[in-house]
């Protein structure tokens, strides 16, 4: 190693200018270490192979910058609601998000779940061989499921309408408003509709999805499958992005209601069909409304958790 540092010196003198490193920000370093230390401690203290610990963003809406979820899984673990059920039943932990809140969850098998606002997910406290990997979702979540050898039980996301059976993949599940919309980005999943009893029917009701497909299962278990060339946009929320492509104001109003808990009241119902296109990053509700006002030319005012939309 020493002989290399010699040519190091020689090279340096050949340039008619030098380099200067920006000084290290001591506070930045200190905070960075604190976060590391906290994550380390959580890892050591948490009991055995129980749930990997819920992980939230350190600063809300901060890392939004189109960052893959995994990069932020470090950070602080917060308390988990332990729900004890009757004896003989597995115990579950439930993770909930409020309006406008997004949480990152690291599962015991290293799969990553980003739970959108106003949603909840139930996870067995112990992931046993027999129980397999299963979670129960209400609301919306984005999944990055770790591949496992075929001996390990599949990963299953249960929603009211449909069960999504997974083999290592990335997909978004929106189980809001009496329907489930599954958008598959990578890999392969199988949907089986709930409430279908006979085994023959069950086979028919199962649907294998290919990447780029969106399956929508409504209350009556009617299923529509479409191709979506911008499939990644379906999970844009997980990166704090909104992607609108001729999206109607009405659809956006539903999304606002689901994620922020604000109702929208329009002066004239025709306004709801106003098409909006564009990308938005790190949006707070205020920012979103500003953009909507500019693109629609409508006036929007907030009062009592309601957005009033008028022509002028």
């Amino acid at each position: 190693m020493d002989d290399f540092s010699k040519d190091n010196q020689e090279e340096k003198n050949e340039l008619p200018f030098g380099f200067r490193r920006q000084p290290v920000d001591g506070r930045l370093q200190e905070e960075n270490w604190k976060a590391v230390e906290e994550a380390i401690r959580q890892g050591e203290v948490s009991p055995a192979p129980v749930i990997g610990g819920e992980v939230v963003e350190r600063r809300s809406f901060r890392w939004g910058r189109a960052l893959a979820a995994a990069a932020c899984l470090v950070t602080v673990a917060v308390g988990i609601w332990w729900i004890g059920t009757r004896t003989g039943h597995p115990e579950y932990s439930e993770i909930k998000t409020g309006y406008g809140e997004i949480k990152n969850i690291l599962l015991p098998d290293s799969s990553v779940v980003i739970l959108n606002a106003n949603s909840s997910m139930r996870i067995p406290q112990q992931w046993t061989e027999s129980g397999g990997r299963q979670v129960w979702l209400e609301g919306e979540a984005y999944f990055q499921v770790q591949k496992q050898p075929s001996t390990v039980r599949k990963f299953v996301v249960h929603t009211r309408q449909v069960d999504v059976e997974v083999l290592g993949t990335k997909f978004n599940v929106n189980a809001r408003r009496q329907r489930a919309v599954v958008s598959l980005e990578e890999g392969k999943v199988r949907l089986s509709m709930n409430g279908v009893v006979t085994s023959v029917m069950e086979k028919k009701a199962a649907l294998v999805m290919r990447p780029g497909q969106v399956a929508e299962v409504d209350e009556d278990l009617q299923t529509k499958v479409n191709e979506d060339r911008t499939i990644g946009a379906r999970s844009g929320w997980a990166r704090h992005e909104f992607h609108f492509d001729n999206t109607s104001l009405g659809e956006i109003a539903s999304m606002i209601q689901d994620t922020y808990g604000y109702d929208m009241v329009v002066e004239d119902s025709s306004m709801l069909s106003f098409p909006i296109s564009g990308d938005l990053r790190k949006p707070e509700l205020q920012d979103l409304l500003k953009v909507l006002q500019v693109s629609t030319n409508y006036t929007m005012r907030i009062r009592d958790k309601t957005i009033y939309v008028t022509m002028h």
Binding site: M1, D2, F4, S5, D7, N8, E11, K12, E14, L15, P16, F17, G18, F19, R20, R21, Q22, V24, L28, Q29, N32, W33, A35, V36, E37, A39, I40, G43, R62, W63, R65, A66, L67, A68, A70, A71, C72, L73, V74, T75, K170, E185, E186, R229, T230, G232, A233, S235, G236, E241, H243, D279
Partner: protein, 201 residues
């Protein structure tokens, strides 16, 4: 921050203690390497928050996996190698996911004028030009220059971090230096400072 034997030995020593679960020793490693790792992450990601998170994630991951990693002679190159791999993976995932959304970030180093020291302070404007010149270099040449001059890594270490052959590092460095030397700007710079020095005496 030169790579003297003492420095590496110290990191090595801390690493051995960290292996046994000594978080304080791990903190010392963090203190020693944070600046360099953060700057490197910042260069690759060009976003201070992402860089901060990346270094954080790196340390947590390494701590968790330390048992698997085991004894480590070259502690600093190991951390840089792991950080680079992590960031490349991160960017790759991003690319896969965002095929249709906007411009893609690429691991591309960007030098800023403040990082350039010109011998003659009167010609500060040249810093901007030199930075621009450096930024015109191909990506891998920039990275070699960066690791070499900023992190004071030797060629073997750079080869390890970037996952390329030792000879490739030499070639990349040579090409970069050649281009810099050929650039008219540098000869202008040199003559200017010569004139300036002459006029002062």
């Amino acid at each position: 921050m030169a790579i003297n034997p003492l420095h590496t030995d110290q990191l090595y020593d801390w690493w051995l203690r960290a292996l046994e679960g000594d978080t304080h020793a791990f903190q010392l490693i963090h203190g020693e390497l944070f600046g360099g790792l953060y700057d490197y992450a910042l260069k690759l990601l060009q976003d201070s928050e992402l860089a901060d998170d990346a270094v954080q994630e790196l340390f947590v991951k390494i701590w968790v996996k330390r048992g698997v990693i085991g004894t480590l002679r070259k502690v600093k190159p190991y951390f840089f190698t792991a950080l680079r791999r992590q960031i490349l993976n991160q960017l790759r995932n991003l690319q896969l996911r965002e095929l249709r959304i906007g411009a893609l970030p690429r691991p591309d180093i960007d030098f800023s004028p403040e990082e350039i020291v010109v011998r003659n302070e009167e010609y500060l404007s040249l810093q901007t030009k030199i930075a621009a010149l450096l930024n015109e270099l191909p990506k891998r040449q920039k990275e070699v220059i960066y690791l070499h001059y900023f992190e004071e890594m030797d060629y073997a270490q750079i080869a390890e971090v970037m996952g390329i052959h030792y000879q490739s590092v030499l070639n990349l460095t040579q090409k970069a230096l050649q281009k810099l030397r050929q650039a008219d700007l540098l000869s202008v710079l040199l003559s200017l400072s010569a004139v300036y020095l002459a006029s002062r005496t």
